[in-house]
């Protein structure tokens, strides 16, 4: 088993999917959280000047998407064949697009742009995403997972996204997508995930 160390700020942000994968698979790792003041010095030493970084036996890798897909594959959470891996990857990218739009709207400083972005999310991206995921759950109706017969990166990332959606005050959106809401609750009740969510450091983001 390699030695894993995940380096990030003290927040969920771009590292939380990786942390959830470690938790769900029961894999030990060092959850290394740095303070903002430590970042300028560390930035010079990491491959791309960004976090998170995953160290695997001391070798550093960046890019949260690549890290998530690697860990999912190592832990048997990337599907049972290449087509399942593709479906999971597609789901993850759809989740990421919504995440990016939500963050972009949150951090937008121009009032007019901010309102425009919120409207686009409410009227287009959010309903479109919820519809895609509802269809995906219905198409894969056997076991209550997004893809295949077991928990995958798609379920974990989707759970994490909607956790953030609820924390950002958009939880009402889930009320209009009961299939998705039920999936979110069920993944949250996975014993290992529930334990991590209850015991992880409480942070604003």
């Amino acid at each position: 088993m390699p030695q894993y160390k995940l380096v990030y700020f003290n927040g969920r942000g771009r590292a939380e999917v990786a942390r959830l994968l470690f938790a769900a698979s029961g894999t030990k790792y060092e959850d290394h959280r740095i303070e903002k003041e430590q970042w300028p010095a560390l930035k010079q030493k990491v491959p791309f000047g960004v976090l998170p970084v995953l160290e695997v036996d001391g070798k550093q890798y960046s890019q949260s998407g690549a890290v998530a897909r690697y860990l999912a594959k190592e832990f048997g959470m990337m599907g049972c064949n290449n087509l399942e891996a593709f479906k999971i990857d597609e789901a993850y990218e759809n989740i990421r697009d919504l995440c990016q739009a939500l963050l972009g709207q949150l951090f937008e400083t121009n009032k007019e742009e901010k309102a425009k972005k919120l409207q686009k999310i409410k009227e287009d991206l959010m309903p479109k995403t919820l519809k895609w995921f509802t269809n995906q759950l219905k198409e894969n109706c056997t076991c209550g997972f997004l893809v295949g017969k077991k928990l995958s990166l798609a379920d974990v990332a989707f759970f994490s996204l909607f956790d953030n959606v609820i924390n950002m005050g958009h939880g009402k959106a889930l009320d209009e997508a009961p299939t998705v809401k039920e999936h979110h609750t069920r993944i949250g009740n996975n014993a290992a995930i529930k334990k991590w969510v209850q015991t992880r450091p409480k942070t604003d983001w």
């Binding site: 000047g49 890798y61 890019q63 897909r69 690697y70 087509l83 993850y92 479109k128």
Partner: protein, 205 residues
């Protein structure tokens, strides 16, 4: 062998990496290019209302990055083990973080935002990405490939980015990054890739 159909507009855009993967691996596929008017009609019938779409034996998948990773895995161009796969994945995400803001530049209309974007590209994203690629080529023993000892998705993505930069009148951007320029030329001279690039439709994007 599945039946592949790639659907996109008549341009390189988000579909070109997939097309290069098909070309490099010598795999047959239908390169379906649609006009803007056809898209309006087709859009509601697609999984997420976006292109490109890859049809595999009639089943539709979206998200260009997921498509690229799927095809690369199918064609043996995603590394020889999971750490090589992580490295390739990291490389394509780093490339995307530069290529996407660069591509968006031509659609920006607000002059202030455009100036800010150009500054970020010039002072941060471009030097950071080209330096990372230079280091990666050197760390990989100057084999001529970014990762491992054969062509991978990382090489295809890098080739696409650098070729775009060189052929849009910005070749001076590569002056300080000769190994990256040489990598692009070597990949471009591989027979299957050269044949595709020489014969593909010539399009403005």
């Amino acid at each position: 062998m599945p039946t592949y159909k790639l659907i996109y507009f008549n341009g390189r855009g988000r579909a070109e990496i997939a097309r290069l993967l098909f070309a490099a691996s010598g795999t047959k596929y239908e390169d379906c290019r649609i006009e803007k008017e056809q898209w309006l009609e087709m859009k509601p019938t697609t999984p997420f209302g976006v292109l490109p779409i890859l049809e595999i034996d009639g089943k539709k998948f979206s998200q260009s990055a997921a498509i690229a990773r799927y095809l690369a895995r199918e064609f043996g161009m995603m590394g020889s083990n999971s750490l090589e796969q992580l490295k390739i994945d990291e490389a394509i995400e780093n490339i995307k973080d530069f290529a996407v803001p660069l591509a968006e530049l031509k659609h920006m209309t607000d002059e202030a935002q455009k100036a800010e974007r150009m500054k970020k590209l010039r002072e941060d994203l471009k030097p950071k990405t080209l330096k990372w690629l230079t280091n990666q080529l050197a760390e990989n023993g100057n084999t001529g490939f970014l990762v491992g000892n054969k062509i991978s998705l990382a090489d295809i993505a890098c080739f696409t980015l650098i070729h775009n930069i060189m052929s849009t009148g910005h070749s001076e951007a590569l002056d300080a990054f000769q190994s990256v320029k040489k990598h692009m030329e070597c990949i471009g001279n591989m027979p299957a890739i050269k044949t595709w690039v020489d014969n593909r439709p010539v399009t403005p994007f």
